[in-house]
C-alpha cells in the first residue's frame, strides 16, 4: 500500500507540476490515525500529507460537485466502488467530466475502526493489509485480525475491483475478485414476520438522532437544497420525539435515491448510531433487480434507472400482497 501511495504522490505532483490539474482531491489523516478525511491539495508540498491505506474509506466523488464548479481541472483518486458514484453524478449532470482527471486506485477493502476497537484494539495509530490479514498498529504493539472480521460492511459486500471510469489506473497488487452476496441481510429481514421486521426497524430507527450524516455523505443526496431543509416542501423536519419522523425521513431518503444509489455504503459507515442504513437501500435494489431486471447504478452514464423507466409487462403491485406474510 505504501508503494501505491508513493506512485499516487509522484503522479499527482507531476500532474500538478505540468499544470494539467491545479488541485488534487485525496485523503489526509484527521485527528486520529484511523480517522481520515477528504482533502484538497494544491501544491507538491501539501501533497506530502496525502495518505492512502486501509483507512481511506471516504468516497471522494461527491466533493467533485463543488470542485468542478471552480476553474481548472481537479485530480481525484477513486476506488472501484467510488467510480460508480462518479458515473452516477456524471449522468445527473452534477459533475463536469471535462474538469476531472480520474486516477483509479486499487483497493483491497477498507477497515472499520469500530470493529478493531470492539475486538480489543486500543490506541490504534495505523493499519496494514498484508493480503491475508489486517494488522493494526497500536500504541501498545501490533494486533492481527482476520480480514472479514474488521472490514467495513461496504467492503465485505464489495461490488467488484473494476473501475467503471478512469483516466489512469494505479494498481500495484491486483486484487482478486471475491464473490459475496450483498443481499443476505435483506433476505434475512424478508424472511421475518412483519411484526419482527417492525420491531427490528423500530429498534433501529429509534436510535436515529437526525444528525443527517447519512444524507450529507451520500453521493446521490446531492440536491442543491434538500427537501428536509426546505420549509416549503411540506416534509421539512428535525429530530422528533417519536418514531414517525424517522420513518418518514428514511423512507423518503431511500426513495429519493432509489435507482440512483450505487450501494457505496457510505451511509452505514458514517452513521454514529450504527443503524444499518444499507439494508434500506439494498432492499430497494433487490426489489428493482427482481421486478425490473438487474440494474446497477453507476455502471454507465446514460441508462435509465428503473424508476424512470417502465415496460408494459411490468409486475402488478399485487405482487406484494400475493407473496404471503400477514395481511
Amino acid at each position: 500500500m505504501k508503494k501505491v501511495l508513493d506512485i499516487m504522490q509522484k503522479r499527482a505532483k507531476q500532474l500538478l507540476g505540468e499544470g494539467i490539474v491545479n488541485r488534487v482531491i485525496g485523503w489526509k489523516t484527521g485527528e486520529f490515525g484511523y480517522d481520515q478525511t477528504p482533502a484538497v491539495f494544491t501544491s507538491a508540498a501539501e501533497l506530502s500529507s496525502l495518505v492512502y491505506d486501509s483507512f481511506s474509506a471516504p468516497n471522494l466523488s461527491k466533493y467533485l460537485i463543488e470542485e468542478t464548479k471552480k476553474e481548472g481541472k481537479a485530480l481525484v483518486f477513486l476506488k472501484p466502488c467510488d467510480t460508480y458514484s462518479f458515473n452516477q453524478l456524471i449522468k445527473e449532470h452534477r459533475i463536469d467530466r471535462e474538469k476531472v482527471f480520474v486516477i483509479g486506485v486499487e483497493c483491497s477493502g477498507k477497515v472499520d475502526i469500530n470493529s478493531l476497537k470492539s475486538r480489543g484494539a486500543v490506541g490504534v495509530i495505523g493499519v496494514e493489509d498484508n493480503g491475508e490479514k489486517v494488522i493494526a498498529h497500536t500504541l501498545y504493539g501490533d494486533m492481527e485480525f482476520a480480514k472479514d472480521d474488521v472490514l467495513l460492511e461496504k467492503c465485505r459486500s464489495c461490488k467488484g475491483k473494476q473501475h467503471m471510469v478512469f483516466d489512469e489506473l494505479i494498481i500495484v497488487n491486483p486484487v482478486k475478485e471475491e464473490k459475496n452476496d450483498r443481499f443476505i441481510g435483506v433476505d434475512a429481514l424478508d424472511a421475518m414476520t412483519p411484526d419482527e421486521r417492525f420491531e427490528f426497524w423500530r429498534g433501529q430507527l429509534l436510535k436515529c438522532i437526525r444528525c443527517n450524516a447519512c444524507r450529507n455523505v451520500c453521493p446521490a443526496c446531492s440536491c442543491i437544497k434538500c427537501v428536509f431543509d426546505n420549509q416549503n416542501s411540506g416534509v421539512a423536519s428535525k429530530a422528533s420525539p417519536d418514531t414517525f419522523e424517522e420513518q418518514m425521513y428514511h423512507v423518503i431518503r431511500a426513495f429519493h435515491v432509489a435507482g440512483r444509489c450505487t450501494d457505496c455504503g457510505e451511509c452505514t459507515r458514517v452513521c454514529p448510531q450504527d443503524i444499518p442504513l444499507h439494508l434500506l437501500n439494498r432492499k430497494l435494489i433487490k426489489d428493482m433487480n427482481a421486478f425490473y431486471g438487474e440494474y446497477q447504478a453507476g455502471t454507465d452514464t446514460d441508462s435509465r434507472a428503473p424508476l424512470t423507466n417502465y415496460t408494459k409487462e411490468d409486475v402488478e403491485p399485487n405482487v406484494i400482497s400475493d407473496k404471503g406474510g400477514d395481511k
Binding site: E92, K225, V227, S233
Partner: protein, 658 residues
C-alpha cells in the same frame, strides 16, 4: 390570507336529501380563510351562479369552493362564472358531495360528516391556490401530412381547400398508396384508378399543396401549433425540375432484373423507372442498387438518351426543414408477410398468391395485361380457392389478433369479377365468418353467392400441397362437418393487414402512442377518433385501424376538419395547470426529462443567482399536458404542478386525515 366563499348546492333533493346542507354551510364558517357560506337549491342555475358572482363582488372573495356535483360536470361552469366577475377561474375548487357523498351514502349523519370533510379539503386547497393564467402560443398555418395514400391525399385536399398550406411527405417515388394498386373497388365495382388518379392530380395541381415524394420525415420537434419537421429527401438521381416523365430512360435502361414493386414483384422494371403510368409526380427515379452505372461506373445509357438532360448521378440527399401547426399521420398499411404461415405454402408455390397480387393480375396495367393467368405457367386457372382470415383473428405469434376488416368484401369482389369474366371458372371461398356491415355490403356479398354461384365454405384451410401443378387444398366444411379437398389451379390468400413498419418510428418521433399491434391510438376511441393523444397530431386512414376506402376517406376528411379547426386559430390557449420548475432548487439532474411523455422538458444554462450559472430544467408550457410525472421523479422538489401542487395535495390529505 384568502377570503373564501363556500357554496353548497342542494342539487334539488339529490344532495339535500342525504346531506344536511345547512350544517355544511355552518361548518364552513369555522374553516380558515372562509368568510362567507351559502346554500342554494341549484347552484349551477342562472340564479345560483348569480349568487356566487354577487358574493364574489360584495364580499371581495379571493377564493371559491362549490360543494356540488362532480368537477367533471360543472367545474368549468363555476370557473367561468367566477371569471365573469373578475376572479381568476383557477381560484375555484369543487367538493364533490353528490357522486362521492349523497348518491352513495344513505345515513344523513355519516353523509353530512363526509361532506364537511370534503368541503374542508377543498377549502384547504383553495387557501393555497394561486391565480393561473393560461399562456398563448402562435399557430403556424401549415399542415404536414405523413403518407400520400388515399387517406393523406384526401386530408391534404380538404385542408388545402380550406385555404391552408399542406405538405404531403411520401416515402415512395409517387403518391397514391395501396389504392393505386387496386383494380376495382367494392361494392360499386368502379375502377380504383378512375377515382383515385384524378385526386392525385388534384393534389399535385393544388396551389396550396406541395408533394414531397421519395422523402421521409426524419425528426419532429416542437408542439401543437408550432412543430418543426426535418424531412429527408432521398436522391432520385433525376432532376425533378427538368424531367418530363417521358419514360425514354426507362425504355432504354439495359438493367431489367429489378422486381416491379407496383406489380407486387410479378414482373420486372428497369433500374431507372417511373412507378406507373399515372404516377404523381410523374418523374423517373433511379434505383442505385440495380443501376449498372452505379455498380460498375459504365453505362449511362439513360443519361445519353434523356433529351431533357434530367439524369443526375451526383444528386445528394437533401434535408428540408419546415414549420407546421398540425401533423396528420396517414402512414397506411401493408399485407403481412406470409412466410410464417406455413400451412398455406405461400413461399413454396408460385400459384399461391395474395389478394393484392390478384388485384395486379386482374388489372389491365398489370403484368398480364388484365388477363387472369396463373403465375407458374401463365395458364388460365379453372378452379380458384380463396382463403379468408389469413393471419387475421389468430392467436399464434405469426397471426394478428384483430379482424383486418376489408378482406370479406374484396374477396366477394374478386370472386364475383372472376365469375363474371370467366364463367368457366369455379370459385371457392373458405371463411370463418363473412362480415359485411356497411352500406350495400351484404347485398354485394349475397350477389356473389346467389347470382354468381361462388361456393362459400365455412371453415379453415389446414394445408395446401402442390401435386404436379395442382394445388390440393385440404380444408374443413364446418357446416357439413366434413373434410374438403379441392384440386385448385390458383389459391388466393386474404392476408391480414398491418400498419406500415414506419408507424413505430413516426409514433416515437411525434410522441403519439401506438397499441400492441402498432396501430395509432386515438385520443378517445369514441369521441375523438381522429386525434392522437398528443395535441396537434391527427390520424387518418388505416394507421389508426383497419378500414376500407369509404371509411378511410371519411376519416381523412374528419382529420382535415380537426386540422382546419386548429389552423384557423391565430393563437392557442394553453392549459395553465402545467409543470414548472423552481430554478433555485433544480439540480439539473435530468430525471424529469426522462419521464415526460411529451418531451416538454429541456435544459438550459441559466444564471439562477448572480454569478451562479446552472443547468436547470425548463418546461415548455405549450407542450406540457400537466400529468405530473416529472414532479414525483424530481428528488429536490423543484418541479411542481400548478393547480395540483405538492402543498395543495398535502393540505387536502391533512384536511381529510384530521
Amino acid at each position: 390570507m384568502q377570503k373564501i366563499g363556500v357554496f353548497i348546492c342542494w342539487c334539488g333533493s339529490n344532495i339535500a336529501a342525504t346531506v344536511d346542507v345547512k350544517r355544511v354551510a355552518e361548518a364552513a364558517l369555522h374553516e380558515p380563510g372562509v368568510v362567507y357560506s351559502a346554500d342554494y337549491q341549484y347552484m349551477c342555475s342562472e340564479s345560483g351562479q348569480t349568487l356566487i358572482k354577487n358574493a364574489i363582488k360584495e364580499k371581495g372573495l379571493t377564493g371559491v369552493v362549490v360543494c356540488s356535483c362532480s368537477p367533471r360536470m360543472h367545474e368549468a361552469t363555476f370557473r367561468k362564472a367566477a371569471e365573469s366577475c373578475g376572479l381568476n377561474p383557477y381560484m375555484v375548487e369543487i367538493a364533490n358531495i353528490r357522486e362521492h357523498v349523497s348518491w352513495i351514502h344513505k345515513d344523513i349523519e355519516e353523509a353530512t360528516e363526509k361532506a364537511v370533510i370534503l368541503m374542508r379539503a377543498a377549502v384547504a386547497k383553495v387557501n393555497l391556490n394561486q391565480s393561473l393564467t393560461a399562456g398563448k402560443s402562435d399557430v403556424v398555418k401549415r399542415a404536414l401530412v405523413i403518407g400520400g395514400g388515399i387517406a393523406g391525399i384526401q386530408t391534404a385536399i380538404d385542408i388545402a381547400d380550406a385555404g391552408y398550406e399542406v405538405d404531403i411527405v411520401e416515402k415512395k417515388p409517387t403518391i397514391g398508396g395501396k389504392m393505386s394498386q387496386l383494380d376495382k373497388t367494392f361494392p360499386t365495382l368502379d375502377c380504383a384508378a378512375c377515382i383515385l388518379t384524378p385526386k392525385m392530380v388534384e393534389a399535385a395541381s393544388h396551389e396550396k399543396i406541395r408533394i414531397i415524394s421519395y422523402s421521409e420525415v426524419e425528426s419532429v420537434s416542437g408542439f401543437v401549433g408550432n412543430f418543426t419537421a426535418r424531412i429527408k429527401k432521398k436522391p432520385r438521381y433525376v432532376n425533378e425540375a427538368l424531367c418530363t416523365g417521358c419514360g425514354i430512360c426507362a425504355e432504354k435502361c439495359p438493367s431489367r432484373k429489378s422486381k416491379n414493386e407496383f406489380n407486387e414483384g410479378m414482373d420486372t422494371r428497369g433500374a431507372v423507372y417511373i412507378p406507373f403510368a399515372q404516377a404523381v409526380p410523374k418523374l423517373a427515379v433511379i434505383d442505385p442498387t440495380a443501376c449498372i452505372k452505379f455498380k460498375t461506373g459504365k453505362c449511362g445509357l439513360c443519361e445519353r438518351n434523356c433529351t431533357a438532360k434530367a439524369i443526375d448521378f451526383n444528386q445528394k440527399e437533401q434535408i428540408i426543414e419546415e414549420k407546421y401547426g398540425a401533423i396528420v399521420v396517414a402512414t397506411g398499411f401493408n399485407p403481412i408477410k406470409l412466410d410464417g404461415l406455413e400451412e398455406y405454402g405461400y413461399s413454396q408455390n408460385a400459384d399461391v398468391i395474395t389478394s393484392l397480387e390478384l388485384e395486379r393480375l386482374m388489372n389491365a396495367a398489370g403484368p398480364t395485361g388484365g388477363v387472369l393467368l396463373r403465375p407458374s405457367d401463365r395458364q388460365h386457372p379453372h378452379k380458384i380457392v380463396f382463403v379468408q382470415c389469413v393471419g387475421s383473428r389468430g392467436l399464434r405469434p405469426c397471426d394478428k389478433p384483430y379482424c383486418s376488416k376489408i378482406c370479406c368484401m374484396y374477396t366477394a369482389k374478386h370472386s364475383m369479377l372472376i365469375r363474371e369474366k370467366y364463367p368457366d371458372t369455379e370459385v371457392y371461398v373458405f371463411y370463418i365468418d363473412v362480415r359485411t356491415p356497411g352500406k350495400n355490403f351484404d347485398e354485394f356479398y349475397r350477389r356473389a353467392v346467389e347470382q354468381y354461384g361462388v361456393h362459400y365454405v365455412k371453415g379453415q384451410v389446414g394445408k395446401i400441397v402442390n401435386d404436379g401443378g395442382k394445388l390440393i387444398v385440404h380444408g374443413s366444411d364446418l357446416l357439413m362437418n366434413e373434410q374438403v379437398i379441392i384440386d385448385a389451379d390458383l389459391v388466393v390468400l386474404a392476408a391480414a393487414i398491418e400498419p406500415d413498419p414506419t408507424a413505430k418510428s413516426v409514433a416515437t418521433m411525434l410522441t403519439a402512442s401506438i397499441d400492441t399491434n402498432n396501430f395509432f391510438t386515438e385520443a378517445h376511441p369514441k369521441l375523438r377518433p381522429v386525434e392522437s393523444p398528443t395535441a396537434g397530431v391527427f390520424l387518418s386512414g388505416v394507421c389508426q385501424g383497419p378500414k376500407d376506402i369509404p371509411e378511410t376517406v371519411a376519416q381523412a376528411s374528419a382529420a382535415a376538419v380537426k386540422v382546419v379547426g386548429l389552423l384557423s386559430k391565430d393563437q392557442l390557449t394553453c392549459n395553465p395547470c402545467v409543470a414548472g420548475s423552481n430554478e433555485l432548487l433544480c439540480n439539473g439532474c435530468s430525471s424529469c426529462e426522462k419521464v415526460c411523455p411529451y418531451g416538454a422538458i429541456s435544459y438550459i444554462t441559466k444564471e439562477v443567482r448572480r454569478g451562479d450559472f446552472r443547468r436547470v430544467a425548463f418546461v415548455n408550457e405549450a407542450v406540457c399536458q400537466g400529468c405530473g410525472a416529472c414532479t414525483v421523479t424530481c428528488p429536490s422538489g423543484a418541479m411542481d404542478l400548478k393547480g395540483f401542487t405538492n402543498k395543495q395535495i398535502m393540505a387536502e390529505v391533512d384536511a381529510i386525515c384530521k
